[in-house]
């Protein structure tokens, strides 16, 4: 009995509900069309690349030119990898902004109501968005991080200043950590966008969270409270991928960033399912 009840042909309207994998495929296809027709899809990554690669190279070039004039202490402190990624935060911010716009643009135009009418499985919509935004962020991160690395270290080696190569101790781990941070920023942006819904709110949150809050927190004299909170800001967790100055090792930093993404994802899923669109 239960077999006949469960059979898809039992649909009274005469057409079968789509299989789960087909529905997922269709949701992905729909999300992809919306993602690639996002107006900021071109300008935002371009600005990120200009900052994280172009500005970084200008900065590296200036530092490489000054290398010969440094004293022994400054030479000992010279950090070829850290120097190379001084502007990574701007690229990370812009990827986060792109993630936020994926969600808020749809709320702004009202398209979200059509999306949710077409695919009432709201969790599936969110998963499809997260997968695609995550993949796009990851691809951008790989291109930006490795281009910045090869051009920056190339400039340093050309100027006979200290430089590192991919095979050196921990270098690949640092680069992959930065790619991971940038991908996480895209997802943090997306889920913030789903929660906040307005472009203004989401973009302001991303700037505040990733760029301004760490600067402000840095100016507070360390005490018991800040020692246990400030290192867990997403920006400081991300910083651990390249530098080590807040006392966290990369392992907990990776886990901490994943924690931010998962908590925001859960909140976004909860609110998306529970709220009117």
């Amino acid at each position: 009995m239960s077999q006949t009840m469960a059979a898809p042909d039992a649909d009274s309207a005469g057409h079968a509900p789509p299989a789960a994998y087909r529905r997922a495929g269709a949701a992905m296809a729909a999300e992809w069309i919306k993602l690639r027709s996002l107006r900021s899809m071109l300008l935002t990554p371009l600005l990120g690349a200009v900052a994280s690669i172009g500005l970084a190279d200008v900065s590296v070039k200036n530092n490489a030119a000054g290398w010969a004039h440094l004293d022994a202490v400054q030479k000992a402190r010279f950090d070829p990898l850290g120097l190379n990624f001084n502007f990574e935060v701007i690229g990370i911010l812009l990827v986060g902004m792109l993630g936020a716009l994926v969600a808020t643009n749809e709320y702004g135009s009202g398209l979200i109501r059509t999306t949710l009418a077409a695919t009432p499985q709201r969790g599936l919509v969110l998963v499809a968005k997260a997968v695609l935004a995550g993949l796009v962020s990851f691809a951008l991160a790989v291109v930006i991080v490795f281009t910045a690395f090869y051009t920056g270290q190339g400039i340093l080696s050309g100027a006979h200043a200290p430089h590192v190569s991919l095979g050196d101790h921990n270098v690949l781990a640092h680069l992959l950590g930065t790619v991971y941070y940038m991908t996480a920023a895209g997802l943090i942006g997306l889920f913030t966008g789903v929660l906040v819904r307005s472009a203004a709110g989401a973009i302001t949150s991303m700037f505040g969270l990733l760029l301004v809050l760490p600067v402000l927190a840095d100016k507070i004299t360390p005490d018991a409270v800040t020692r246990h909170t400030v290192p867990y800001l997403p920006s400081n967790l991300g910083d651990e991928m390249l530098h080590h100055h807040q006392g966290l090792t990369p392992g907990p930093a990776v886990a901490g960033l994943a924690g931010w993404v998962l908590v925001l994802a859960a909140a976004a899923a909860f609110w998306l399912r529970g709220r009117d669109a």
Binding site: N62, G208, V212
Partner: protein
């Protein structure tokens, strides 16, 4: 000839009554900006609660500091520096006040009702500036008193001390100028994300870029960036040129003036 009002074409209304009506309609639009109360309360929360936290957190640091560190301690800037975060919300409020009107299409109705577009923009800026200035100055005073009481045992300033009143009023003026900059950039860009990225880029990203690139040029220009007005709430002024509070606000006002000139030129020439 003018006796029978019904037959003659209606004459233009006088300038001051039109300005008054425009200001009134701009006030209705501004107070119904949906994120307006949120943006202003977020600003107040960050500035006032931030002042208390910063005062409290820096008290121990001051007492433990070296004599040189104590001499360089700026009790006013220390408690008001949360403005660096709060300015994002004021700038965003300026942006969405304008871009919201473009997004909803209301701007076309506005310009049909008042074809004197320059007057519309002037009144929009005036209403915005008055409200934001009043709110931000009030929160600056609240933050100052709360922060100084949190500093307590450390060196703290009284409102009558030299330069302090200027600094506390300066903080409110700086935030107002940031809001106006956001508003005029909103007119130039029309789209919320682009305008927000532009104003945040000017206020938060550009200083980082100039700080990271070594060299004489970046070092000398650092004080003339669009966050120059932050000198307004400092008692101790560093940097290559040591700009004072009014000079910093002057630089800030120059940026606003340039953005305003571009916004007025654009609004008079382009289709809405």
């Amino acid at each position: 000839m003018s006796a029978r009002a019904g037959t003659v074409p209606r004459r233009g209304i006088s300038l001051d009554s039109r300005l008054l009506a425009t200001a009134h309609s701009e006030w209705i639009k501004f107070r119904s900006v949906r994120s307006g109360p949120f943006a202003l309360s977020a600003t107040a929360l960050i500035v006032v609660v931030g002042a208390w936290l910063l005062g409290d957190a820096n008290r121990g640091g001051y007492l433990a500091a070296s004599p040189a560190g104590k001499a360089a301690f700026d009790p006013v800037f220390t408690v008001l520096q949360a403005i660096v975060l709060a300015q994002l919300f004021v700038g965003a409020l300026g942006v969405i006040t304008v871009t919201g009107e473009y997004t909803s299409g209301l701007i076309r109705g506005t310009f049909v009702a008042t074809p004197q577009r320059a007057q519309v923009l002037a009144m929009k800026a005036l209403v915005f500036a008055v409200v934001v200035w009043a709110c931000c100055t009030a929160m600056s005073f609240a933050a100052f008193f709360l922060g100084q009481s949190a500093l307590s045992l450390a060196r703290h300033a009284g409102i009558g001390d030299p330069g302090v009143l200027t600094a506390v009023f300066g903080a409110g003026l700086y935030l107002t100028l940031v809001g106006l900059l956001g508003m005029f950039i909103g007119v130039l860009m029309r789209r919320t994300p682009a305008a927000l990225a532009a104003i945040f880029g000017l206020l938060a990203v550009l200083p980082i870029v100039f700080f990271q690139i070594p060299g004489k040029i970046t070092k000398n220009l650092r004080e003339y960036l669009p966050d120059a007005g932050q000198q307004a709430y400092r008692l101790v002024h560093g940097g290559a040129y040591a700009l004072g509070p009014w000079q910093g606000l002057g630089v800030e006002a120059a940026y606003v003036a340039v953005a305003a000139a571009a916004a007025f030129a654009l609004i008079l020439r382009t289709d809405a």
